[in-house]
Subunit: 465 residues, 2 copies
DNA sequence: GGGTATTTGTCCGTATGTATG
DNA sequence: TCATACATACGGACAAATACC
């Protein structure tokens, strides 16, 4: 009949429910049949009547049976044609956590180390949402995102990034790529090509391509994008990473910024400013964001992936006012794609000041690792490598003076347990380059692991010199 | 000098920081000036030296001052071009929750009633993620989404929707619109126009337009889209809602389905099947999904918004195998846009059989409300209205035989506290139509409210007859 | 056919362990 | 660490439906 095991972690009533359900679906208990009364069954199975009753209630709620008061429960005719037999849990193999065992040192880009993110706080904020915001969970949210979160972002941007905007201009997106996609949708009527820095951020390149735009690579030097070269392109939009160029790490100079803005006004075009590493800079003076210099000409994009958690999937964009109107005309009645359960905890996190302190903590954290990595590289490699990138961000770009390909160097490192982002995966380079380039992300690796990791790299790669 | 109030809820260090910052920005403390030492200032203000130091550290982190070791802190020359004076925004007004007080009966489309969603269970699953999956929270996830969740979706689709696919073909997206956008990206090289049912789902129309496609409206009757008319379009892709046409509610007949598939093979085109209301049908026999009939020609899109929670923002698409390859070529290294904190709880929810239970519960729930609404409308309006839509979905479409515009009817209802989705917001209608049409969603309203709400509607609208 | 005993669903309070704050 | 809340499981009390005399 029924086999109930009180030692099993699944509750008794649920075990009974499952077994009844299977018997109904495969016809062992035929339609219109009357189930045993809760008293009888409970006596048979040596469990409480309520246990049986709870199982019956569940079947009732799901339409497997109907109840006649004071008479009994009767099996419904299930009219699903092709539900021949539906086992409840068909034993999904519990996926073994992808074993990172082999990775000893992680130099991949973007992942974060444990113990930096305040998990308990975030968990309690999430639970607070379940307690206090049930109503909003049951609804679709508006296009731009939660108003409260947008207010917090405005405050943050005004104070730390010199970005000047009102809440109406903020749009919450599920990652930078969505932001870029939306930017493309807004610019489709203005241009058929988008210019970007070469080398540049691969995901942006793909986003533009996927949106049907031609991408014009524009060379850059250590002061930033070559505005003269930009003038040769017909593109009316340019994608740049001025606060910390990806991947070279240079910071766009103020004169270059002003010339770029001049270009935007002349061409009646737009600048897409990707401030992906937020205000992660160490010992270098801040330069005002492009957006702050020309709010009407800049689409500013920021992200929480680097500072908080990559898996949160929250980014945001600041749109010029005319584009806000355009967006609302284009996308009226489309819901924001970031779940409320992510937006609200983030809002509370910022509101209560935890974000600011967390950012400070992270800056310090990365600063130490940045310094340690630069030192370790210089000590171990000397002038065999050149490090590009200034005191900012969460990665360095190495040019390694050897004959092997970057691909091969990365494979060799992988064999020794050092994970490095495959070159050409995270960035694109259109112009040919002489030596292999390696992008070394230092966000995930622990401070104390940096020196031994670099020594190991030196040992592995020395044979290629 | 400085006024610190320990009774104030903002921390002491922050009060000091704010005041110092203002004085620096407006020049009261000039560039290069040395700040008072932390010992002196703490004595002056009768606070701990740490309090002063924390404030100084914050200013330091933000680049307002520089520290010379064993000498003091000196004010930096703020070289931001146009930072004239940035007041910190104190105290964001705590937003009053949008008061739904005025809404007595909610007939808007898509929202859900409380007490149907198992919040406690979901909450505990979310917490389980914080406990057991910290590693994965610190990482970017892969393009297609969590493998475990995709497995569960495959199982569900196979059993309930006749969809035939492997995990490799499943892509998790943050809502239907993202799925449609991705579909557009995949079809860009094949076609410049997309055909869709007229009337049809507005968000889809907007998505196609925003992606730069021309949209060809194709008329339909109660058996589904007019395939003959479809042949007159040059579009190589057609968007349909066969399981429950939006908004008319008709179910596409099997012959029509087969003819549509024939079209796809002839034209070497694709069908985008939006199964938005999943298997929400009452007393009507299910018809196999288009995907099940022609897996190579159909892009199938499903969503969890209607059955679980709109605010979760999770949908999924099933791609033909050749498009999977295309996608991976196009979007390599782009992360899935659904947060891990949403994907994982959903996976566990499905794995443990709660999703199936919940779906059956919801079907029962909606079935009752559907019946009650149809009865109430027929009793109160008789032949003054015609109800279109068969026994499926979470809405009805009413054609009201009166001279007033739909807009006006909706406004009148709103005055009486009855919320109805604005027509033309959720659906588009290209062809002209004689009587005003009203889309009545019955997902949010409580069962017992349906009859009084309809009576009230009758009373309000009777003057327009 | 009417009264009574029994069966049955339904509702209530309570004890216990776990999870959350 | 302790208090609280919740899910689970239990037994008892009540009223309606049914069966029986």
């Amino acid at each position: 009949m029924f086999i109930l095991d009180s030692k099993n972690k699944t509750p008794l009533y649920r075990q009974l429910y499952q077994q009844l359900r299977v018997k109904i679906l495969n016809g062992e208990i035929p339609p219109q049949a009357r189930l045993a009364s809760s008293r009888k069954l409970s006596a048979d199975l040596k469990v409480s009547r309520n246990t049986v009753d709870t199982a019956y209630q569940q079947l009732l709620a799901e339409g497997y049976i109907v109840g006649k008061s004071r008479s009994g429960y009767y099996v419904e005719t299930i009219n699903n044609v092709n539900v021949s037999f539906v086992p409840e849990i068909a034993e999904v193999e519990t996926l073994p956590e992808p074993s990172d065992e082999k990775i000893k040192y992680d130099f991949t880009y973007g992942n974060l180390p444990p113990d930096t993110f305040p998990f308990p706080k975030w968990q309690s904020l999430t639970n607070e949402c379940f307690r206090n915001y049930k109503n909003q969970l049951l609804k679709y949210s508006s296009l731009m995102g939660e108003l409260g979160l947008r207010k917090e972002i405005v405050k943050y941007l005004r104070v730390y990034r010199d970005v000047k905007c009102s809440v109406d201009q903020i749009l919450i997106t599920s990652g930078t790529v969505e932001a870029l996609t939306l930017a493309c949708q807004l610019l489709r009527s203005d241009t058929t090509a988008i210019a970007m820095e070469d080398p540049g951020f691969r995901a942006a390149y793909l986003a533009f391509r996927n949106q049907g735009f031609r991408v014009d690579p524009i060379p850059l030097n250590h002061h930033g994008i070559n505005v003269k070269a930009l003038h040769t392109s017909i593109a009316k939009a340019v994608y740049v990473t001025p606060s910390h160029q990806f991947p070279t790490g240079s910071i766009m100079s103020i004169t270059r910024r002003l010339r770029l803005i001049e270009w935007a006004y002349e061409q009646n075009g737009y600048i897409i400013e990707d401030d992906y590493s937020s205000h992660l800079r160490y010992d270098v003076k801040p330069i005002s964001s492009l957006q702050g210099l020309a709010p009407e000409k800049v689409i500013y994009i920021g992200s929480f992936s680097k500072m908080l958690l990559p898996s949160l999937r929250v980014a945001y964009m600041v749109l010029p006012k005319n584009l806000v109107q355009k967006l609302q005309g284009q996308s009226d009645f489309i819901a924001c794609s970031v779940p409320f359960l992510i937006q609200k905890p983030l809002q509370l996190f910022m509101q209560e000041g935890y974000f600011e302190s967390h950012v400070r903590k992270m800056i310090n954290h990365f600063k130490k690792k940045h310094k340690a990595l630069v030192c370790a590289l210089q000590e171990n490699f000397g002038d065999e490598i050149s490090i590009s990138g200034q005191n900012a961000g969460i990665h360095l770009l190495l040019e390694i003076k050897c004959s092997a390909s970057a691909q091969k160097l990365i494979e060799q490192a992988a064999k020794a347990g050092i994970a490095i982002s495959t070159s050409g995966k995270s960035w694109v380079h259109f112009a040919p380059h002489s030596y292999p380039c390696i992008l070394l992300g230092f966000s995930a690796i622990a401070l104390d692991d940096i020196l031994p990791a670099v020594r190991l790299l030196r040992k592995i790669w020395s044979s290629e010199k």
